[in-house]
């Protein structure tokens, strides 16, 4: 709803933090402090006035909900009845709930299908599109960007029809090769991969464009020197491209991983979590319990736990990267 949408899903977040900008700001701030001298903090009034709208709205609609989620997770809380303090029982219960744990496992499986596919396709695309220029590059970049901005509702509608059993284009296409129609969204063993396809389709564009920006940043001279030394395509990829892109790849891995783990529109609209809960991803599980349960302490506790787990995963991936850097020297 808030920044979390743009920040965590990556959709629409079109620029990454720039350290260069931060670094250049430091001397500037020092400079102004020197000029201001004894008039330090003279900007308090105007600063607080101009900050007020953002800070007040964030407090009301993000910080208060977060604090009350933390608080309510210790209560047997309900919209309709008096609540009762239950200590850690909600956390214990949700962690022992097979449905919740299964939904997280399913989310991880979904992310495992989506993220490597997106990354490999984007990597290939970036290395191919590197050499494109002019109009063709413009057309290709704009075309792959468009799926990233389309509403999840529309994506769900279109892909449901593509997957239609008797008249969908996918089964028709497979039929050309003599393959029998497949019930993509009704077969519990196929439904989750079937949802992974539109997820990949939506996620590919921005990932590929960020990867392309990274590839274009690698000086041509590296490749020329490697080619002179007789390095082939594969060696150039493993010794030049991938190491140069390490941090870009890591950022995209984390952003796409957390985004696909939090996907809700596709299962909500295409399968309602079915068949047999095969597509009940964690956020849909929580959403269903938020909207259907009488006592909501337990799903609130589950949502908070998931949030902590996501943070821990991101942090540990960064830790791995840093230690690797240390080995490299």
């Amino acid at each position: 709803m808030t920044g979390a949408v743009t920040g965590s899903t990556g959709r629409g977040m079109t620029e990454l933090p720039r350290q260069a900008g931060v670094a250049s700001a430091v001397p500037a701030r020092r400079g102004s402090r020197k000029i201001a001298g004894r008039r330090r903090h003279r900007d308090n009034l105007i600063a607080y006035l101009m900050l007020a709208p953002v800070v007040i709205l964030l407090i009301i609609f993000v910080i208060i909900p977060l604090i009350s989620a933390g608080y309510l997770s210790f209560f047997n809380w309900s919209f309709y009845r008096a609540s009762e303090y239950v200590g850690f029982r909600n956390f214990v219960n949700v962690l022992q709930s097979p449905d919740f744990l299964a939904s997280i496992g399913r989310g991880l499986l979904f992310a495992t299908m989506v993220v490597p596919t997106v990354m490999i396709l984007a990597f290939l695309f970036a290395n191919i599109a590197r050499g494109l220029g002019g109009r063709i590059a413009g057309f290709v970049k704009t075309s792959i960007y468009i799926p990233t901005i389309i509403s999840g509702v529309i994506v769900a509608i279109v892909f449901t029809i593509i997957y239609d059993y008797s008249g969908g284009v996918l089964n028709w296409f497979l039929g050309l090769f003599g393959i029998q129609p497949i019930a993509w969204l009704a077969d519990p063993s196929i439904a989750l991969p079937a949802l992974a396809v539109p997820e990949v389709w939506m996620m590919f564009g921005l990932t590929a464009l960020i990867m392309l920006a990274g590839v274009l940043d690698i000086p041509d001279s590296y490749y020329e020197a490697a080619a002179l030394d007789g390095a082939g395509w594969f060696k150039q990829m493993t010794y030049i491209t991938i190491p140069s892109l390490k941090n870009v790849i890591l950022y995209l891995l984390i952003a796409n991983f957390t985004a696909s783990l939090q996907e809700i529109n596709l299962p909500l609209l295409m399968t309602q979590g079915g068949p047999l809960n095969a597509t009940l991803l964690p956020n849909l599980y929580l959403f269903n319990h938020f909207t259907q349960d009488t006592y909501q302490g337990q799903p609130i506790a589950g949502a908070l736990l998931l949030f902590i787990v996501l943070g821990a995963i991101s942090a540990s991936i960064f830790a791995v990267l840093n230690s690797e850097k240390a080995v490299d020297g």
Partner: protein, 275 residues
């Protein structure tokens, strides 16, 4: 490119690149064309990409459907208001964090940026409780107000402001111009490239919202367009040509925005700071 490529390398590059582009566009192109088909032709076998016969009726019929056009207009109005106000308040905060010196600056910065890392789902239910207590349910305000302040946008605009040379405002400061005057006279006119990016992002976020609206909006005359389409699919499922036409029209505003601003948005995808 410094290196001039041989055509034996270049031609496959072009073919594969264009293939990626077409694969990305295929589902949308098929949706747009299916809007011209009869309901029975959308799922007809054998598959046809182009309509066997062209029918503009679907597009006309969905446009004159008062529920659809109302949903389109009210979503557009909401998205426009949302975009303008989010740019206004987030750019003010960005300017303050980029240039002003005040007490508790660090603390406030950490709090604001910290909100960027809170997943929606962690606060979805308690946000619902908050808007219920504020009596905002089933009003436009519940769609506009809660997501208005955005740490990601404050961060993005601040980065942009940090790159504006300080010399530009020094003369104005020496002349005794106030901070507000410097913001409106010097920073705002220079902000257009950043505002294009955050503006399109805001518009898109509002236009594409679905989960929050279905929790908070119950009056059909306030439905956002995604909500309308999802309901249409359930209640009028067999009218596929109409559904495709409606989906296409609902996708159009964001596509047009991206086409208008493509250079500024796609050109802005940079990776500095990730090396």
């Amino acid at each position: 490119m410094a290196m001039k490529e041989r055509s034996s390398v270049r031609v496959p590059r072009v073919i594969v690149g264009v293939f990626f582009g077409l694969a990305a566009l295929f589902p949308l192109a098929w949706m747009a064309l299916s809007g011209f088909k009869l309901n029975s032709d959308v799922l007809a076998t054998p598959f046809s990409f182009f309509p066997p016969s062209w029918h503009v009726e679907n597009y006309v019929q969905i446009l004159v459907d008062p529920d659809f056009s109302r949903a389109m207009m009210i979503t557009f109005a909401g998205a426009a208001i949302f975009t303008i106000f989010s740019i206004a308040i987030n750019s003010m905060a960005a300017y303050v964090f980029a240039r002003l010196d005040f007490s508790f600056k660090r603390t406030l910065w950490v709090i604001v940026i910290g909100t960027m890392f809170i997943p929606n789902m962690a606060i979805l239910l308690t946000s619902f409780i908050v808007v219920t207590k504020l009596h905002m349910l089933d009003t436009m305000l519940v769609l506009i107000l809660p997501p208005l302040a955005s740490a990601a946008q404050v961060f993005f605009i601040r980065q942009f402001y940090l790159n504006i040379p300080i010399a530009l405002e020094e003369a104005a400061l020496l002349d005794g111009a106030g901070r507000w005057r410097i913001f409106t006279r010097i920073f705002l006119p220079l902000s257009q490239p950043a505002f294009v990016v955050v503006g399109v992002t805001s518009f898109m976020a509002y236009w594409n919202s679905y989960v929050w609206p279905i929790m908070t909006i119950t009056s059909p005359n306030l439905y956002v367009v995604g909500q309308y389409l999802a309901n249409f699919r359930v209640s009028r499922g067999p009218e596929l040509g109409l559904l495709m036409a409606g989906s296409m029209l609902a996708a159009l505003p964001v596509i047009i925005l991206v086409l208008i601003f493509q250079r500024k948005i796609i050109g802005n995808i940079k990776i500095a700071g990730l090396k």
